[in-house]
């Protein structure tokens, strides 16, 4: 005997919504927890008798005041914005022409080289950080924000080149051919025609490179030792802790303030990012 069709549809619908809500609740829970911790009074946080899910005492802005006035948090944010901006510029200057040339000007070896470039993205920082720490000290950049500015393009360039290469390939060749018949040089066609036409691809790369800078942990932890030169990704988890004392309220406030903007930015270009990984497996 089979269950009636309508009942089965209802069961399926309820199941699917339960799955959606349970997963979303678990995955987003730490961010909810950051939010509620940010505004709780210290006495409320550390009273074991209190229900931790609600405000047992009136909310407070004390943790935010402490974070902005008495820690280096803003400094780390500024450091990260500065490093991110320079890394984005280096990435664009090097990756955009390379991607165009790999997509257009080379023969069969262009595609091979493109894959080779992508593969370097897979070499992990935890394999390179030991030799790189020597390179950084040879360059005299140890304990300077510039150490990560120099190193980060080594992973933003490969992935950006790979993404842009795919992007340039989708633009019809006839357009440049027509422009060159009209008297533009190849370089002129690239600068005046292809770059303006690829603005959405270039914007993707800007956001991509920028978010990668904010997410990076290993290199910044390795090369930068003093708190004032840190980025936000290392500064918050390592320097907001004094000795064994965790200032959980301020710490969670910093986590929340850092995560949300990066999360929103990353979300906007995520589909393209995923395309970069799935080339060859999805048609």
């Amino acid at each position: 005997m089979r269950t009636p069709r309508r009942v089965r549809t209802w069961i399926a619908l309820i199941t699917i919504w339960v799955v959606r809500i349970v997963f979303a609740a678990i995955l987003a829970f730490p961010f909810y927890w950051m939010l509620i911790t940010t505004f709780k009074r210290t006495t409320d946080l550390y009273d074991l008798k209190n229900n931790p899910f609600i405000f047992n005492e009136a909310p407070t802005l004390e943790h935010l005041r402490l974070l902005f006035n008495e820690t280096l948090f803003l400094r780390w944010v500024m450091n990260t914005l500065f490093a991110g901006t320079i890394v984005v510029i280096i990435t664009l200057v090097l990756a955009v022409p390379a991607a165009y040339a790999l997509a257009r000007l080379t023969g069969g070896w262009g595609a091979q080289l493109g894959i080779g470039v992508f593969l370097t993205y897979l070499i992990p920082s935890t394999l390179l950080f030991i030799p790189l720490s020597r390179v950084i000290s040879l360059l005299g950049l140890q304990d300077s924000l510039w150490s990560v500015i120099v190193v980060y393009p080594s992973f933003t360039i490969p992935f950006s080149t790979w993404l842009l290469m795919g992007f340039f390939k989708t633009i019809p060749k006839d357009l440049e051919d027509a422009a060159m018949v009209d008297g533009l040089s190849r370089w002129g066609a690239f600068v005046k025609l292809m770059i303006p036409m690829s603005m959405s691809g270039i914007l993707t790369v800007v956001i991509f490179a920028f978010t990668l800078v904010t997410q990076e942990f290993v290199y910044a932890l390795t090369f930068i030792s003093s708190a004032t030169h840190q980025t936000v990704g290392v500064g918050v988890p390592t320097f907001l802790v004094r000795g064994d004392v965790f200032y959980w309220g301020s710490l969670m406030a910093a986590c929340l303030i850092t995560s949300l903007p990066i999360g929103v930015l990353y979300n906007t270009f995520l589909d393209r990012f995923i395309e970069g990984f799935t080339v060859g497996a999805v048609k």
């Binding site: 000007l105 030799p131 720490s133 120099v150 080594s154 490969p158 290993v218 969670m252 995560s259």
Partner: protein, 292 residues
């Protein structure tokens, strides 16, 4: 088309040089260091053969780290794969609130992992853990006998695996979603008309058709897990008693904090076999994309 012959190489060269200088060169240096005697501040270089490798293979901490790396990677990837398949199926069709739900689900992947891990450190706190609060209220554990999540070897391993799974799950889910939407709708529909139920369609049609994309998700997931040290560094520093020590973290503690660059490099070399497999699979996928 005058000048075109040098224009292409000239446009590619700067990017390639940058990558060679900061990826290729350090990559080779890692090998050179692993068979030498370099320490922080030391001058000169002496070839010592396989001495570093012999010394780390004798080291029980290293053997533990190697074992832990496999446990950490394999367990979290199995969990990610199961979770991502279920979640991708639940997110496949359009529904009201999909954008918001997608944003919430993606947060663990898009937020910086060091920051997310600190959030978990507070959730798993030895005294004020909200998880324990719930368990106590449900009378599953007693207040003064509550689990110390990051302080006991087995629980610490379970915790870092759980947090890493939490971080990687969204990434695998969006990759699988890309694969699901690429399956032509009429195939599962035809199967339904022929009387195949949900699970039969799932295991005999959807999952087999998704295999290439599942491979991609597992491949990148395994690389990002095996070579990552952030979650473990923040939650446990490899402790207690090295019970959560893994290869990349041990390379950091030995090579950077311990100043023994040579031995640290030798430890990190043990990540190479996995990278070689990954390279092979990427090349194969790329080749297939060119042929078809």
């Amino acid at each position: 088309m005058k000048g075109q012959r040098w224009l292409g190489p000239a446009m590619i060269a700067p990017a390639i040089l940058y990558i060679v200088a900061l990826v290729g060169l350090p990559f080779l240096m890692a090998f050179v260091y692993s068979v030498g005697d370099v320490k922080v501040g030391s001058v000169g270089y002496h070839f010592v053969g396989l001495q570093n490798f012999i010394s780390i293979l004798k080291n029980p901490t290293f053997r533990l780290a190697l074992r832990n790396s496999f446990i950490f990677t394999i367990s979290s990837q199995i969990l990610v794969l199961i979770g991502a398949n279920i979640l991708a199926l639940a997110l496949k069709d359009a529904f009201p609130g999909r954008r918001l739900l997608r944003f919430l689900i993606l947060l663990p992947w898009v937020a910086p992992v060091s920051i997310g891990s600190i959030g978990w450190k507070w959730i798993l706190d030895s005294l004020y853990s909200v998880v324990n609060w719930v368990l106590v209220r449900m009378h599953l554990v007693k207040q003064f006998d509550a689990p110390v999540w990051l302080g006991e070897p087995k629980l610490a391993m379970i915790s870092v695996i759980a947090v890493h799974t939490w971080h990687m799950l969204p990434f695998a889910t969006v990759i699988l979603l890309a694969g699901l939407t690429a399956i032509p709708k009429d195939i599962p529909e035809a199967a339904a008309v022929d009387g195949a139920g949900f699970f039969r369609t799932l295991f005999q049609i959807t999952i087999p058709m998704m295999l290439p994309i599942i491979n991609v998700a597992v491949l990148f997931g395994a690389i990002f897990t095996f070579t990552d040290m952030t979650v473990i560094y923040i939650l446990t520093r490899g402790g207690p008693y090295d019970s959560t020590q893994v290869i990349p973290a041990l390379a950091f503690f030995t090579g950077i904090l311990g100043s023994d660059l040579a031995e640290g490099a030798a430890i990190s070399i043990f990540m190479l076999p996995l990278l070689a497999v990954a390279t092979y699979m990427v090349l194969r996928a790329a080749h297939r994309a060119e042929v078809t």
